[in-house]
């Protein structure tokens, strides 16, 4: 199985999350931590923490949380070509979907507000399908992927500026 950088870094990150979670049982406040520490040092006994092993479900959830932070693929005007810029991002999602074959994903296709709403529905579908094909090319089972096009109906940026248009021309991976 080929793990990419994101997933690898998560392998390191997960135990650290767990450690952080155990370290602050009652409060994360700096003052009270100091008080706790001094109280422990004054005692004749010292307790030591044990890192709790995460269940596979918890691990999967954390990986997914990380993936969901990077889940938007942007497109150039009137095109549906997946740019190389998003190769790493899509690799990570593909890796996750290959391992978790029971997981399904919805790829939403969106367009900017230029042109007609109906044409943009078609364009949004083309983008969603381009991403779907890309994931399938990386070994994801096609039955795990659904697509929907919202055209220009759900813009992220309403400014109608060039930057706003660029933000809205996108495909979104929804778990």
């Amino acid at each position: 199985m080929r793990l990419n950088k994101v997933v690898k870094s998560l392998a390191v990150a997960i135990p650290m999350f767990a450690l952080a979670a155990c370290g602050s049982t009652s409060t994360a406040d700096a003052d009270s931590q100091e008080t706790n520490q001094s109280a422990t040092q004054n005692d004749t006994v010292v307790t030591a923490p044990v890192v709790k092993e995460l269940t596979p479900a918890e691990k999967q959830r954390l990986v997914l949380q990380e993936l969901q932070k990077e889940h938007i693929i942007y497109f150039d005007f009137d095109t549906a070509t997946v740019s190389n810029t998003f190769a790493t991002l899509l690799d990570a999602h593909a890796a996750y979907l290959r391992v978790n074959a029971g997981t399904t994903i919805l790829v939403e296709g969106h367009a900017d507000e230029r042109g007609t709403p109906e044409y943009n529905i078609a364009l949004g579908e083309r983008r969603a399908k381009a991403v779907s094909r890309y994931l399938e090319g990386l070994g994801v089972n096609g039955s795990q992927i659904e697509t929907v096009s919202y055209g220009e109906e759900k813009p992220l940026d309403n400014s109608r500026s060039e930057a706003g248009f660029a933000t809205n021309r996108r495909a979104v991976l929804v778990y």
């Binding site: 042109g115 579908e125 929907v148 055209g151």
Partner: protein, 450 residues
Amino acid sequence: MKLLPKILCLCSALYSISSHAALDIVITEGVDSARKVAVVPFKWLGTGPRPASITNVISSDLRFSGRFSPTALFSMPQNPSTDSEIDYAAWGATQIEAIVVGTIKPYTQGRYIVGFELIDVLRAQVTNGSAKVLSGGKLITSNDHILDSRETVISAKEFRQYGHRISDVVYEKLTGERGAFRTKIAYVLVDRNNPTYKYRLMIADFDGHNETEILRSKEPLMSPSWSPDGTKLVYASFENRRQQIFIQDIYTQKREKVSSYRGINSAPRFSPDGKSLALVLSKDGNPDIYTLHLATKRLVRVTRNRAIDTEPSWSPDGKKLLFTSERGGKPQIYQVNLVSKRITRVTFDGEMNLGASYIGKNGQIVVVNRTRGKYHIAKQDIKFGNVQVLTKTRLDESPSVAPNGSMIIYGTMHRGRQVLGLVSIDGRFKARLPVSEGEVKAPAWSPFIF
């Protein structure tokens, strides 16, 4: 003496609930060659407060058509209320060719008798109000300068509607064409600040008054379009997290899901006979045009192409469809004959042409034309190909033509918001219909309802 046609009609105002006008017309461009007419404020013959003004409705209707330029009150030589009070010579000097005069009388509780006369000022000057004409071999006196004259009982709620009715009479008498002032528009209102129901399907009078919600949804609503009898709307809805097509009876609220194929279910349009829909489905791979017979559910694939085909629009005889296709590289308008399946390209001017529909039976179409990156509403002759760009605003889309072909309503941008624009078919008169909250899109002009 000509019999005055008296009609007692019960113009039941369909939507009388909302009295506040959510849409306001703002005239963005004047008309230089419109015909001068005058709508004299109707005389109130009752006691107590005067009921709502009918004459404002008539004046603004006539102005929207782009064909007429109603005279301001201060430019009228006198304020007559009947033909007998009119000083023909004084009006003749104003270059006003026709005037509307009338009276409002109390009838029973909450009801009024509204009477009006449409006077041809030029004719009246010639005949001085009484022409001698031959009828059955005899010379008789005629008042043929009175082009129309009616009296009707209406309720207080029906004033606007009856004003539109008078506008229709005036328009038809003076142009020879049917007026479209009692038609409606459907559109989608998007309120991005609403935490739940962001998308609303609305109906209003063509001038934006009597706005009424007929559906609200948490998910996008698109492409409303009227049935030819004006009782139903077909539209696309994402309420089930995918695009599906519904038909809704606007009076009974009955809804029916008519298309829910895998992929796109988009751009539905009723056929002129109301029996079929043209629509766009991508179930067979990519967006193509289909027709769906509503009674038998029989689906016929019209286009078969690897490019995007969308936005079908019926010809008035129901034998052809216009549609947008990018089979030539960029989106352009094509026409398909539904019998022979023969496809011809219609538009060549501009980087793109989208969202076409026929303008009545006169061989012209309206399109969204993209030239040098700008999207404008344009008109094109199918046979000769000459193009006239009608709008100058930004990001114009979704043109819909009035059933008499006189005006086009479309989506446009104003101060960063999506609003509705209205343009006369010659492009000379423009108005904007902004709403107080949210964005207005996808306007669809109804057929003749009355």
